[in-house]
């Protein structure tokens, strides 16, 4: 009996036992608590056996059997925790709170680029409409359905109820922000396009209100929800440009690895964007579209702006965890 055959005969019962245990884990969905240590040990043994079987030339059948065993066991050993502890959940929430300000601080170039596209297009569209007020319909064809520069309160013009409106705003605005992000993968061109379109609408609207002599009515209709909504859109755009940056400036990584690396940051920003949009959806339907006085609206917008500034300041002062910001190992190069 040669060495390889002896190895297989000695180890085969352990593999069979582990296969049976894996079948049980597959059926139950997770490793039983009292078997975790033994299961992890059996997994490591199987991984070592796979390595040894290849080295000894035990044949393809044995290698394939062990490969299956190890790959499936890996999924069970390294799976996500079934119930994250309260501490871990709090840690994840805290990381998300600081991730957004840090994404802007760590990549100021992409943040400024997004802001420049948005404000630049707003300015150009504003100048375009200021030249001839009728041009506002070219930039914003559905203007009359959305916002009015007249004296009436915006809530009086809308025959839609606030809870329904909240759902609409949250879903619609989140989808728009996700477009900012997703189209970043098209080398950033898609994100740029969405920024230009949305900036143009804002600029054209401001010029339209100014032309009607109602600019004082414009900001109270925009700012209360606009502070967080603008931040959410800029966050979506930042995430989109991070994906684009992986193509344009991958640095020391391959483009695929850089994309996976930036994608991890973009994923957290996408979650933050949705949270911001939920908040701004409530504000837009219950405050902006209400019959509240402009003073109340402006005060709310100011408080929101101060809140965002304080959030950024505190987050940027918070200590980084070891390894944070150094980049996460992207997909294994194979």
């Amino acid at each position: 009996m040669d060495r390889a055959e002896s190895f297989v005969r000695t180890r085969a019962p352990a593999w069979t036992a582990f296969e049976k245990e894996l079948a049980g884990v597959r059926a139950a969905g997770s490793v039983p608590a009292d078997r975790i240590v033994a299961f992890a040990r059996a997994y490591r043994d199987a991984a070592a056996d796979l390595s040894a079987a290849r080295a000894m030339g035990c044949g393809a059948e044995v290698s394939l059997r062990l490969n299956r065993l190890v790959s499936e066991a890996h999924g069970a050993v390294y799976r996500r925790r079934a119930r994250p502890s309260t501490e871990r959940r709090r840690g994840a929430a805290a990381r998300m709170l600081v991730a957004l300000p840090r994404a802007f601080a760590d990549h100021p170039g992409t943040a400024l680029l997004g802001l420049a596209f948005f404000l630049g297009s707003a300015l150009l569209a504003g100048l375009y409409v200021a030249g001839d007020e009728r041009r506002v319909h070219e930039v914003f064809p559905t203007l009359e359905n959305v916002i009015h520069p007249g004296d009436g309160k915006p809530g009086e013009k809308l025959n839609v109820m606030p809870a329904t409106l909240t759902s609409f705003y949250i879903v619609n605005n989140s989808f728009v922000a996700m477009n900012f992000l997703a189209h970043g993968i098209l080398l950033g061109l898609g994100t740029t396009w969405f920024l230009l379109v949305n900036g143009s609408v804002l600029g054209a609207l401001a010029a339209h209100f100014a032309h009607q002599g109602a600019l004082h009515r414009f900001w109270p209709q925009i700012l209360p929800h606009g502070v967080t909504e603008m931040l959410a859109m800029m966050t979506g755009a930042q995430a989109g440009f991070l994906l684009a940056k992986a193509f344009w400036r991958p640095g020391e990584y391959s483009r695929v690895d850089a994309l996976a690396l930036r994608g991890r940051e973009a994923g957290v920003l996408a979650l933050a964007t949705v949270c911001l949009m939920v908040w701004s959806g409530f504000v837009e339907s219950y405050l902006t579209r209400s019959t509240a006085d402009d003073g109340v609206r402006n005060l709310f917008a100011a408080v929101a702006a101060v809140g965002v500034a304080a959030w950024f300041a505190l987050a940027l002062r918070a200590k980084r965890e070891p390894g944070e910001g150094d980049g996460v190992r992207a997909g294994a190069r194979t």
């Binding site: 991984a47 796979l50 409106l165």
Partner: protein
Amino acid sequence: MFQERWSLETPEHVPVEFEVAGPMSRYAAGLYDGLMLFCLVVICSLLALGLALVFSEAVSRDAAIGATAAFLAVVVFGYFPVFEYFRNGQTPGKKALGIRVMRRDMRPLDFASVFLRGVLRIVDFLPGLPFPLVGLVSMSISRRALRLGDLAAGTWVVRDPDLPPHLDGAFFSFGKRAVVRPPRPRTAPGTAAAAAPAGEGRLTAEEFRIARDFVERSQGLDPEKRRAAAVYVAGPILRRLGEQRFDAEKFLREEVAKGPAGKSLL
């Protein structure tokens, strides 16, 4: 064109091979999930309508519509990320097709990754068609069958080591998998077929046909692929016979020479 098998290193520094799920099996899983999602939305809508009628006096119409719309949006947008995160990388469609999402660095899936690959479906479905044109093109030209969402999220979709028995045939195999993976033998070790005396053909007619096809067609393959294919073909037969052989290719040649059960070619 995508390559079927890839090797990744576990944290224990042992390379493990995975079989990449091809574009068509992923598309089939997507269709399955689309159908599930449609049914889910219809059921939720009917349920919400029923609840609204029952509690029409206690709950305002506005609140009912708002809550239903928000819930449906969560169902539609959350279906893929939630299933992939909580069900170890498997939506119902992926589970039915025996495939799962994994991170390419072999770490556990995190919610940001599955959420991002979900968001990137917006681009994979461009230009507004009911099927993911960009995604399919991306998967077809990528060697690891990655769609844009996988590229950005650092994930890929692999086949489970064992397919569910009802899909272990050629129906979803599309192409070369149909050749290298025979149907799972229906007889258990120790049955009459397994107990056939040595020296006579022991393969069932179906096994013999597949083994003979392998022997006839495998000459042009490079040695590594030929060995891997031989293991696929011989594995289920050896399990049925309750035997273990180190050289699957040699075993197949020997068995083909003997002919199918009950006959001898010699």
